[in-house]
């Protein structure tokens, strides 16, 4: 349904934009209908940048994003508006997504003005009613309130309800539960899973692996803008191939198991290999004599499970 083909993003940094930062590097993957994909990576890995490019909030430096075969960069005017009927985003901080001076349901009014100018009041109220109920909110309790009168979980569900008004097919969920409490977090997560069963595709951007595992079928692991591993969630979690994925999985705090004595290297090795493997600096298996100086491409190790490490077999033997 949504395809990303070799997309890259270069940010200009420095005082006069003289320096360049490659935030996303040649990333390709696709999302099927009704599929949840989690995009996992640490801060600065480019995961939010990918989300923003899909939403058209920032331009794509190179590569192409296609929705149902249509390149989204070429969309203009009405076609672009149609795109936003299908694709919407919800972001990390529900508190700053609202204007505190106005009532929270103002976000619905804007949708109505832009997308449904002809609808009458009764129908519109019915639509809001059903979409609020779909996200598990009681309309009588939450309408006509100011943002500070609602909890974080309620505000976040409000934003999802707003996206649902538009019959979206694709939702970019950028760290939407990391600011919520454990008790409300799971409700929002269950909501996403339920929407998925109704055919919605979701790009679930997170740095929390256990949340990603809970709802997604496939996972993409990003490191410094590159995909290092992509595959079915079970295989990524129980049979990680890339040394970075292994480190991530071993670092997740769990309730059933104490941390193993895997030492996390804090000090990065000095990188002399700008063209080599992105993980070279931190990789415990990297060696200059091996061909880590060449950037590895994604290799299909098992069916549907790709890894960007030339030595994954060796790594697995040594662990």
């Amino acid at each position: 349904m949504l395809e990303l083909e070799k997309i890259s993003k270069i940010y200009k940094t420095g005082t006069f934009g003289g320096k360049k930062l490659l935030a996303v590097n040649n990333v390709s993957f696709d999302v099927e209908d009704g599929e949840v994909i989690s995009l996992i990576g640490e801060s600065g890995s480019g995961k939010s940048t990918i989300g923003k490019m899909i939403l058209g909030l920032i331009s794509i430096s190179s590569g192409m994003i296609r929705l149902n075969g249509v390149d989204i960069a070429t969309l203009k005017g009405d076609a672009l508006k149609d795109y936003y009927r299908n694709v919407q985003g919800v972001f990390q901080d529900p508190f700053s997504s609202y204007n505190p001076i106005f009532k929270a349901d103002r976000i619905f009014r804007i949708i109505r003005e832009e997308f449904f100018p002809k609808i009458n009041n009764r129908e519109w109220d019915k639509k809001i009613d059903s979409s609020l109920r779909a996200v598990g909110l009681n309309p009588d309790e939450v309408l006509n309130k100011y943002p500070h009168q609602l909890s974080g979980g309620q505000l976040q569900r409000f934003l999802i309800a707003r996206a649902l008004l538009l019959d979206v097919q694709f939702l970019v969920a950028d760290e939407i539960i990391s600011m919520l409490d454990a008790s409300t977090r799971i409700d929002v997560l269950n909501l996403l899973a339920e929407l998925k069963s109704r055919g919605l595709s979701i790009l679930f951007i997170t740095h929390d692996l256990s949340l990603g595992y809970y709802i997604s079928e496939r996972a993409v692991i990003l490191y410094r803008g590159c995909i290092v591993e992509i595959g079915p969630t079970e295989q990524i979690y129980y049979h990680p191939l890339h040394p970075y994925t292994r480190l991530l999985i071993a670092s997740v705090p769990r309730l059933d198991k104490k941390w193993e004595e895997v030492e996390v290297k804090l000090k990065a090795k000095y990188s002399e290999l700008p063209t080599g493997c992105v993980y070279y600096e931190r990789c415990p298996f990297a060696d200059k004599d091996k061909d880590c100086a060449k950037r590895p491409t994604l290799i299909e190790a098992e069916s549907g499970h790709f890894v960007a490490c030339s030595h994954y077999m060796e790594v697995n033997e040594r662990v």
């Binding site: 640490e42 801060s43 909890s151 974080g152 409490d181 454990a182 008790s183 409300t184 977090r185 799971i186 409700d187 997560l189 269950n190 899973a193 740095h207 929390d208 692996l209 256990s210 949340l211 595992y213 809970y214 709802i215 969630t233 979690y237 480190l247 991530l248 999985i249 670092s251 997740v252 705090p253 769990r254 309730l255 059933d256 104490k258 941390w259 996390v264 804090l266 000090k267």
Partner: protein, 321 residues
């Protein structure tokens, strides 16, 4: 016993009245104990941490006593506490990223800080460098501005700084929340190492992430709506909690290996009461699956039902009796 807190009450003053954010907390932290403090946002866990070191307006001291190493802590007196801050009791604040002065080099900032506590910087420098080595920071950071450090580096720098004078008690407030899993692990392990090396005698680690506490804490205390709900050793809290709130909280955590399609987790329905005018009786009763009449009118006391296992619940204490 390193820290003894008795019936501590700290309210927030607002125009509408007092918000009872911390309403009578009684607990102890032993020497060498890392106590985790968990709960939802707004349950008073940061209020408890902050009130032990910097009790400033709009916080208001209402009652209670705090003893550190059998010495009374004058927490309600701003000036007198200066003898204890940094030396005996220290904090790593929630946003360590912004805890350092952005326009001063880190070394300069530390030397000024030490001078304000009448401690010689030069004689402390070798120890400071030793500890920088321990957290794998290069000595050059002393000549850098905070902006030149990454988030994890700043966090480690603040950790070294807060514990430089070997305080008896360290309060770590949500220090791992803003970090990536791999950095999170390193920082959490460092806390344990600081305790093992006796840089700090005991610690209160405040976080909403119980799975981190399971990795590092000796005991966990759970708070709900300004009250203590349960305190016990980490194993007991995670594997056999008694308070209904703790049970629900633990069961709502997604863990690796749990998938929506196989096992659907549930959250805790409802939301915490407003603390401006908290309900009578047990504050959790509206969301509690086992509440009965007694919970409506009488407030459950925080009592020891087994050795080192404290709980505030009528149902459970009746079962025990």
């Amino acid at each position: 016993m390193a820290l003894q807190v008795e019936k501590l009450k700290v309210y927030y003053q607002t125009l509408k009245g007092d918000v009872k954010a911390l309403d009578g907390a009684t607990f102890t932290v032993e020497d060498g104990e890392i106590m985790g403090l968990a709960g939802e946002s707004g349950c008073g866990k940061s209020t408890l941490g902050n009130s032990l070191i910097l009790l400033k307006a709009p916080m208001r001291f209402v009652g209670g006593r705090v003893k550190l190493d059998s010495e009374e802590l004058p927490i309600q007196e701003m000036k007198k506490m200066n003898n204890f801050r940094f030396k005996k009791i220290s904090i790593i604040p929630q946003y360590a990223m912004t805890a350092m002065n952005p326009i001063q080099k880190i070394g300069k900032m530390i030397s000024e800080l030490l001078r304000s506590r009448k401690i010689d910087f030069k004689s402390t420098l070798p120890e400071l460098k030793r500890r920088l080595d321990l957290v794998e920071l290069s000595h050059d950071v002393l000549n850098m501005y905070p902006i030149e450090l990454s988030g994890g580096m700043k966090q480690r720098m603040v950790m070294v700084l807060s514990t430089l004078l070997n305080p008896s008690l360290l309060i770590a407030d949500e220090i791992t929340s803003a970090l990536d899993v791999s950095t999170q692990k390193a920082v959490a392990k460092m806390l344990v190492e600081f305790r093992d090396r006796e840089f700090v005698k005991s610690m209160i680690v405040i976080t909403h992430d119980i799975s981190i506490l399971y990795q590092i804490a000796d005991s966990i205390m759970v708070m709900y709506a300004g009250k203590l709900a349960e305190k016990a050793s980490t194993e007991v809290i995670i594997n056999s909690p008694r308070h209904p709130y703790t049970k629900l909280l633990i069961s709502s955590l997604p863990d690796i290996g749990i998938k929506y399609s196989q096992k659907k987790l549930t959250g805790i329905p409802g939301k915490p009461p407003l603390l401006l005018d908290p309900p009578t009786g047990c504050r959790f009763r509206k969301r509690c699956p086992v509440a009965f009449e007694k919970c409506l009118n009488e407030e459950p006391p925080f009592i020891e039902i087994e050795k080192d296992h404290f709980i505030a619940c009528w149902k459970e204490s009746e079962k025990n009796a």
